[in-house]
Amino acid sequence: MKDVIDVSKLDRDFKYRVIEEPGGEGLLSCFACGTCAASCPVREVDERFNPRRLIRMAILGMKDRVLQDEFIYLCSGCYLCQERCPQDVGITELMTALRNIAVREGYLHPSFKAQLEFVYKLGRLYELTDFDNKKRQKNGLPDLNPVIDEVKILLKEAGLSKFVEVRELSTHSFLDAQFL
């Protein structure tokens, strides 16, 4: 399937917004050599994920596709592409920057939303029950506090409490786009 890019729907200022975001500074240095795609262990198992294509989409201004799609969440954060990039695009950090922009646009991946809820409520990623502490004791490990309240205060300060209820990620997937 050929995918047609409708120029009138592109957001040409999107790239400037990305380079303003911490981690996104290197976006425009990309000369599309493909070292990232060749190094990516995710791309090796799932051809639909492709860092080079994602970077091109961002530069072209395909904002909605970049932010609403599953693409940017498939990066495992291993930094191999970033280490090998001859242009210092800082690809792993760029993915973080794009995810942060997506959240501010109201798109939060359900997986991250679930993690946020745990950390917000408990101060940790997993619920720690009395049973867990008993198990820890049995293995000679010290007890842990089940809830760290101060984290909630800090996350409120960071403005994240409002994101505990935000729009779900679009179920429509653009992963089959065949350009580039």
């Binding site: 262990p41 800090l154 996350l155």
Partner: protein
Amino acid sequence: MSARRVAKELGIEFEDIKEFSCRGFPMRSIDKEAQLLISARNLAIAEERGLDIITLCNACTITLQEAKMELDHDEELKKRINEKLNKIGKEYRGTAKVRHFARFLYEEYTPEKIKEKVKRPLSGIRAAAHYGCHFIRPTEVYRDFDDPEHPQSLDKLIEATGAESPDYPDKQRCCGGGILGIKEEDALLMTKNKLDDVKNVGVDCMISICPFCSIMYEGNQKKIEKTYETEYKIPVLYYPQLLGLAMGIPSEELGFKLNRVKAKNLLAKVEKDEE
């Protein structure tokens, strides 16, 4: 459990801080500054007590070390973070050092000194090193430590126990854990690729220094075997477990009961050598 046991034997003392929370890694993908805030809180708590931080997980390590690096090099950012930290009566100053336990063993304790502590050399044991990404990358954070493409520290730590640390393709590769919650089948395929590589060179066990990598390689090993109709039966040890064995600590005290893929054959081999 094994890290504590080994540390005790080596004369290293840990202090537990109950007030520590999650290091903030999960917040990174949502709001980088929120992550820095949570990381800075944990760092500030250690600073208050005049302690350095030893981590047992790669993701915790990179989160704290990178937060420290960013806060120490950006006064404006540090000021913003501290304004918010002040609301809970805390301040980040930048005095606590953060290091992974394995890095501490490598740099501070050194493989040479570890060799002196080995009472039961694990000769004949082949143990494949898995570094995990965030122990060695990105370069910006680990510049003064190990090579991002061809790391050696963990191999040397393994060799210090008398075991052999064989080469295998793509040793520096990712376990897939980062996308387990996003797309499980892709994540498990990444894990499978590495298990295949390790199996092909023939090992007695794999050595991990990150609990999440361990979840991928041993927690999900059965699932991968079932899905892809293959067989690995490769035990995945946390490095201090291997070290503890070499130091002659009984396996019951090193948490071997908690391993998902049982290290029965390996333990039999180690104990047989003793006779």
